[in-house]
């Protein structure tokens, strides 16, 4: 096992393996992955298509199950949690930023951001305050009643960022957050993510193909054919 940071690790991955079954064949995607991520780190996972980086991100975020190994996040072994426990854990600890924003088209920007808060005990008034704060943070306070189809790609991704941070999670996972954006919007989004890391101390784990995006990260790890190497 190797240590990649001096800060106390918030994520500890031990002997993690994952394979997919295609017909009668097992196709290994991740092989014996071991590494730690410190609290407040900004790490970029890079690698060619099919290298297993999105799979690793999914495992870290608790939206997929490993075949073997252990993932400790904030002292919780998420590989031992049931689906229901994982759902609760995700909503409290992880913020998601997707390549295609994954906003719900029938909900306004406000409602999309409010969505994770519906699972909390916050009152309607408290939810409103939280959502308005988050949307102000991403400079979209004036667009809160707009539907996703009425927003540009960059604006939609900013709504997604507001949604990701609305529950104040410890970790932000971003899967190709600039993959569907033009250059200007991509820079804007990366700056937001960078700010969340620097100013708000969020641990950011980002999968990207884009070397400029990776430059924002403090650490870059490469995956190739399911094997992790240092950057």
């Amino acid at each position: 096992m190797e240590s990649i940071t001096v800060k106390p690790p918030i994520v500890q991955i031990r002997n993690l393996s994952k394979s997919y079954r295609r017909g009668s064949q097992d196709i290994p995607v991740l092989m014996d992955i071991n590494f730690d991520i410190g609290e407040g780190d900004f790490i970029a996972l890079m690698g060619p298509s099919g290298s297993g980086k999105s799979t690793l991100l999914n495992l870290l975020a608790g939206i997929d199950k490993a075949d073997s190994g252990q993932i400790m996040i904030g002292g919780v072994d998420i590989t031992s949690l049931s689906e229901t426990e994982l759902a609760g854990w995700r909503s409290a600890n992880i913020g998601f930023i997707f390549q295609f924003y994954n906003l719900i088209p029938v909900l306004t920007a406000f409602e999309n951001v409010e969505l994770p808060l519906l699972l909390t005990r916050l009152s309607r008034k408290e939810r409103r305050e939280h959502v308005e704060t988050a949307l102000r943070l991403v400079n979209l306070a004036d667009r809160m009643d707009h539907y996703p189809s009425q927003l540009s790609g960059g604006q939609q991704q900013r709504v997604a960022i507001a949604r990701a941070i609305i529950t104040d999670p410890v970790i932000l996972v971003a899967d190709e957050p600039t993959g569907d954006l033009d250059k200007v919007s991509a820079i804007e989004i990366l700056n937001f993510i960078d700010r969340l890391n620097h100013e708000f101390g969020k641990t950011v784990i980002m999968v990207t193909h884009d070397p400029r995006a990776a430059e924002k990260a403090r650490l870059i790890r490469h995956l190739d054919k399911g094997v992790l190497s240092s950057g």
């Binding site: 939206i63 997929d64 994954n102 088209p105 029938v106 699972l119």
Partner: protein
């Protein structure tokens, strides 16, 4: 509230698809309701039969008659309170397509046995006094524009010739289900005419109507009456009015069963259409369901969304179908009154329609709900982009 908002917005996301599904459900529920009403009406005569009325007819067949001389012997049977008699006349008004039920009856006893035919006292008295007098139901009179005092001529089919009557009364039904399209006149007028024209057919009746004081006497009275005429030239068959009516219904029971099956098939077809729509809808939204699951929502939340959408679409369609049933039934009653003098949609039919719509919504949502609720998040997210 949030989920309800989302369900409604989801339901109308593809407006054309949703509207077509709603229209489909509405038409299916309408067809179901009309067919069920038709089946119900077929049995209406049976259901509205009196438990204290018996019918005595020739045991060979209804087309064979009984002598009028049986009247006195029947009336002496213990338990019988009243006896009336009549013949199916089968006359047509101007044109054979103008069909309505018409009978020659013994007027006084007949009206006593059938209190559901309500005549005003003065019109009733006028009818009883006039041997050529006739009575028509309110709907029948309205259809042909008859007024009290009008002369009405029927062309006999079973009893050939032109038969002139003076309309002395227009009756209304005591209940909503009472047939108001009947026409009846004095049996004596028929009989006396037959004595002159076809004497061998005179003094014959098609059936006797018997009134008993209590329903539990019906079986005993029926046996007693039939025993009286055993081994005679015209043996009788006495049965309750309900059994008598059922005898007619049973002749067409196969058609009724077919109509019932068709009514269910209509619902099954729309169920398949709605299920297809919901399956398409859920397949398109698997990515969204996965996103919601990623945010912490569970399978039950997804199930509420899919079920809610399906049930709302079906409920709107079902509601429209129910609302359309009433004008459609009114149109049928108006346009086809000679076949369907009563075409009222019952409360139970409305309940069945709503139940059918609900079942459509629930069944249509089963597979999509299972699909949406069980899809793996990683699988669902791969569908986006």
């Amino acid at each position: 509230m949030f989920f309800l908002t989302m369900i409604i917005r989801n339901a109308f996301r593809h407006k054309m698809r949703t509207i077509l599904t709603i229209v489909g459900v509405a038409i299916a529920v309408l067809a179901f309701g009309l067919l069920r009403t038709l089946v119900g009406l077929w049995y209406l005569g049976v259901e509205s039969s009196s438990a204290t009325r018996l019918v005595t007819r020739n045991s060979i067949s209804l087309v064979f008659t009984l002598p009028i001389s049986y009247k006195d012997r029947i009336s002496r049977v213990r338990g019988i309170e009243a006896v009336s008699w009549g013949n199916w006349f089968g006359g047509v008004y101007i044109d054979p397509k103008n069909f309505f039920p018409n009978f020659a009856v013994e007027p006084k006893s007949y009206l006593e046995l059938y209190p559901e035919f309500v005549l005003s006292p003065d019109q009733k008295a006028a009818f009883l006094l006039d041997r050529k007098g006739a009575v028509a139901g309110r709907k029948l009179a309205a259809k042909y524009g008859w007024k009290v005092g009008d002369q009405i001529t029927l062309k006999g089919t079973i009893f050939p010739g032109q038969w002139d009557f003076i309309l002395r009364s227009i009756y209304r039904g005591a209940q909503k289900s009472t047939d108001e399209t009947q026409f009846f006149f004095h049996w004596d007028y028929l009989n006396e005419t037959l004595k002159k024209t076809v004497p061998r057919r005179a003094d014959q009746v098609g059936y006797y109507m018997i009134g008993v004081s209590r329903p539990d006497q019906a079986a005993e009275v029926a046996v007693s009456v039939d025993r009286l005429f055993r081994n005679s030239l015209a043996e009788t068959l006495t049965e309750t009015e309900k059994a008598f009516q059922l005898g007619f219904v049973s002749m067409t029971e196969a058609i009724m069963i077919a109509i019932k099956i068709v009514s269910y098939v209509v619902i099954v077809i729309i169920m398949a259409v709605a299920a297809n729509t919901m399956a398409m809808t859920a397949r398109e939204r698997l990515g969204e369901y996965a996103t919601m699951k990623t945010l912490g929502f569970g399978a039950r939340h997804i199930a509420v969304l899919v079920f809610g959408e399906s049930v709302i679409i079906s409920a709107v369609g079902g509601g429209m179908g129910v609302l359309l049933t009433f004008p459609a039934a009114h149109w049928i009653k108006t346009a086809l009154s000679q076949y369907f003098p009563i075409f009222s949609v019952s409360a139970s039919t409305v309940c069945l329609e709503m139940l059918a719509a609900l079942i459509v919504g629930v069944v249509a949502a089963l597979f999509p709900t299972w699909r949406g609720a069980t899809i793996g998040i990683a699988d669902g997210l791969r569908r986006i982009g």
